[in-house]
């Protein structure tokens, strides 16, 4: 399944790589604009509660999802809007969820940090650090029996690598050759704490060796690099050869959550990161590759129009339905 976007690049650079990059640029931009709009909605008090944006990290979901198929199951963390969008969840239904609308993917029950949209292969966010890793292994286990040939992918932050459940999931999947891909979104911070101070060796991909499985580190700001690494892992998973750890190196350009004062940043850190962030890099590559500034602008405009429309529709929707709030506790 390629990343879903309503915008098909008008005049992408020549060749399949160029076309792929243009598509991925559009998909990343779509996430970026979504997140930016959410940030505004949060500040405006339209979205309420803790929100974790993936601004700067968009290449990971976009690249990873491009290497998967529709039948596969994907599990993310609370920082999951980008993953859902990459899976094809309509922006309107996602806006609706965060706005607490009836039209939200979970009718407002999940919220920013814990929604799911399984019909798009998005098996959900998880707000417990590491909580999704064993569940993803279980999804891969299911594929053992159902003949679907499906695999699973779970994404989590580098800080989650210190959580017991992730360790257990890695070993469980390795021992039984489960078709699951463990994607580490390494943005260098565990909330407000530099993760390098919480581990001895911050090359976390190397921990794969402890479980006897392959591990790789790639540029998490390059969607094609992520796609290729995940594609390799996916091939292995689908062939019954078990799990892979894919560590993707990135930077979060905003706070851990909206409102984070970011006192932990080094001088100039975010400014430097903004120079190498995925949209900047992809935009330059597209222009370098021969895409015209006009075509690019057209692409941007069309993505922005889509997001605007989705936001407007979501804002206009009915609030979550309080009359059914007690339903669906049990079958």
């Amino acid at each position: 399944m390629t990343p879903t976007t309503t915008t098909t690049p008008a005049a992408a650079p020549a060749g399949p790589a160029g076309a792929a990059l243009a598509g991925q640029f559009a998909a990343m931009l779509r996430i970026r604009r979504f997140e930016e709009r959410i940030e505004k909605m949060r500040h405006a008090g339209e979205v309420i509660g803790s929100v974790h944006l993936c601004i700067g990290q968009e290449a990971i979901p976009v690249g990873a999802r491009a290497a998967l198929e529709e039948r596969d199951a994907l599990f993310s963390t609370y920082r999951g809007h980008g993953w859902a969008l990459a899976c094809g969840v309509p922006a309107e239904a996602l806006f609706g969820e965060l706005l607490g609308k009836r039209t939200g993917v979970n009718g407002g029950r999940g919220g920013s940090a814990y929604f799911s949209a399984p019909s798009y292969g998005f098996y959900g966010e998880n707000s417990i650090v590491g909580g999704g890793a064993p569940i993803a292994a279980g999804a891969a286990l299911a594929a053992r029996y159902d003949g679907s040939g499906a695999i699973a992918l779970t994404a989590f932050g580098e800080g989650a690598m210190n959580q017991g459940s992730v360790h257990e999931a890695l070993n469980f999947a390795a021992a039984f050759d489960l078709g699951v891909i463990f994607v580490i979104e390494n943005n260098r911070y565990s909330e407000l704490t530099p993760t390098k101070d919480m581990v001895r060796d911050d090359e976390l991909w190397k921990r794969a060796a402890a479980y006897g499985i392959p591990g790789v580190r790639v540029d998490g700001n390059d969607p094609l690099a992520v796609r290729d690494a995940v594609a390799e892992a996916a091939a292995r998973a689908r062939a019954g050869e078990g799990p892979t750890v894919v560590e993707t190196m990135t930077e979060r350009l905003v706070g851990h959550y909206i409102g984070d004062g970011e006192a932990y940043r080094q001088e100039g850190e975010v400014a430097a990161a903004r120079e190498r962030e995925p949209l900047v890099v992809a935009r330059a590559a597209l222009l370098d590759g021969g895409m015209s500034a006009d075509s690019l602008e057209e692409l941007v405009t069309s993505v922005e129009a889509e997001i605007d429309a989705a936001a407007a529709a979501a804002l206009a929707a009915e609030p979550a339905d309080t009359t059914t709030v007690r339903e669906h506790l049990h079958a």
Partner: protein, 327 residues
């Protein structure tokens, strides 16, 4: 009807579930090839092959693995060897499994069953002796049952497995190798829920569940000899809890004793008492009395355990105290 002891009844139910639910899979520590440390899963691996397997000592992976498989169409049956071990991975059942259906508005479901066992057995240490049903019963979204007889070990496990929601079935080690009893093994699978009046009576209601049923029966018999008629209710399921049966009984007897092996404070007996103090207060002719482990950690030496763990004697004393209150 085959004559089965409790653990063989569990085993029979597991066989039937694997047979009737092609989507069922089953796993746990020492579960498959060894057949379970208490033989509960004997023969499953031979019969059902790869659908039954052993796991690493990784409770979070077992429970999380069950959830992931469940949301993708399987019906996992897993074992947590001791309820105490649940505590290394409670997140997976409370924060994860219990939320699946509700948060997704029913788009996802987690039809999984966790079998575990609990309680004090002579010599068992403090980390292998707790009765923790109250924790699970405080988690909306879970089904919680404690079978007390071979028939219920069979029936309730099947009901839990057939239910399309996460269920925790808590067995008790002390029951596994108890007496055999005829067990009906070809009835339909009942939905979860429903208490059983194990003994009808007029003077006082005794509510219990799990392994305490045996002691409760003895106590009721003692009291019968003393001319007191005890209505003994085996709650069976704490979630859903059959309040109506208890209320109806208390309305008749006017007196209520609740007995469980778990610590008294915060035990599920409190919930039963609270419901009755709300729904049937005017029927009460005596204070509600709870019998349970006094609030203590649990020592290993059998002589010390006997000094703490309540049994027929403590229940009988509570019944006597309750019926002695003038109407």
């Amino acid at each position: 009807m085959p004559e089965l002891n409790y653990v063989s009844a569990v085993n029979a139910a597991l066989h039937r579930a694997m047979d009737e639910f092609p989507e069922a899979i089953a796993f746990g520590e020492d579960f498959a090839i060894p057949g379970g440390v208490f033989t509960a899963s004997k023969g499953l691996r031979d019969r059902f092959g790869e659908r039954v397997f052993d796991t690493p000592i990784s409770e979070a992976a077992i429970l999380g693995g069950a959830i992931g498989a469940a949301v993708r169409g399987r019906r996992p049956i897993v074992e947590i060897m001791w309820v105490d071990f649940f505590l290394v991975a409670l997140d997976q059942i409370v924060n994860q499994a219990a939320n699946v259906r509700y948060v997704s508005q029913g788009e996802l479901t987690a039809p999984l069953t966790v079998r575990t066992q609990q309680g004090v057995l002579a010599g068992s240490c403090a980390q292998h002796s707790q009765s923790l049903e109250a924790i699970f019963a405080h988690v909306p979204g879970l089904i919680v049952g404690l079978p007390a007889t071979p028939q219920d070990a069979y029936d309730m496990l099947l009901s839990a497995i057939a239910a399309d929601d996460p269920a925790v079935v808590i067995e008790h080690r002390s029951l596994y190798f108890g007496p055999r009893a005829p067990v009906s093994v070809d009835g339909p699978i009942e939905p979860v829920g429903g208490a059983r009046v194990r003994r009808a009576g007029e003077d006082v209601t005794l509510v219990t569940w799990g392994a305490m049923l045996g002691a409760a029966v003895s106590a009721a018999e003692q009291l019968a000899d003393e001319g007191v008629s005890v209505e003994l209710i085996d709650a069976r399921w704490l979630a859903p809890f059959d309040t109506a049966t208890v209320t109806a009984s208390v309305e008749k007897t006017g007196r209520l004793v609740i007995a469980h092996e778990a610590n008294v404070s915060g035990g599920f007996g409190a919930e039963v008492a609270a419901r009755i103090a709300n729904e049937a207060l005017w029927s009460l002719e005596a204070p509600i009395v709870r019998v349970g482990l006094p609030d203590s950690r649990i020592p290993a030496a059998p002589v010390l355990q006997r000094a703490l763990v309540p049994g027929a004697e403590q229940i009988a004393a509570a019944l006597r105290e309750t019926v002695a209150v003038p109407a």
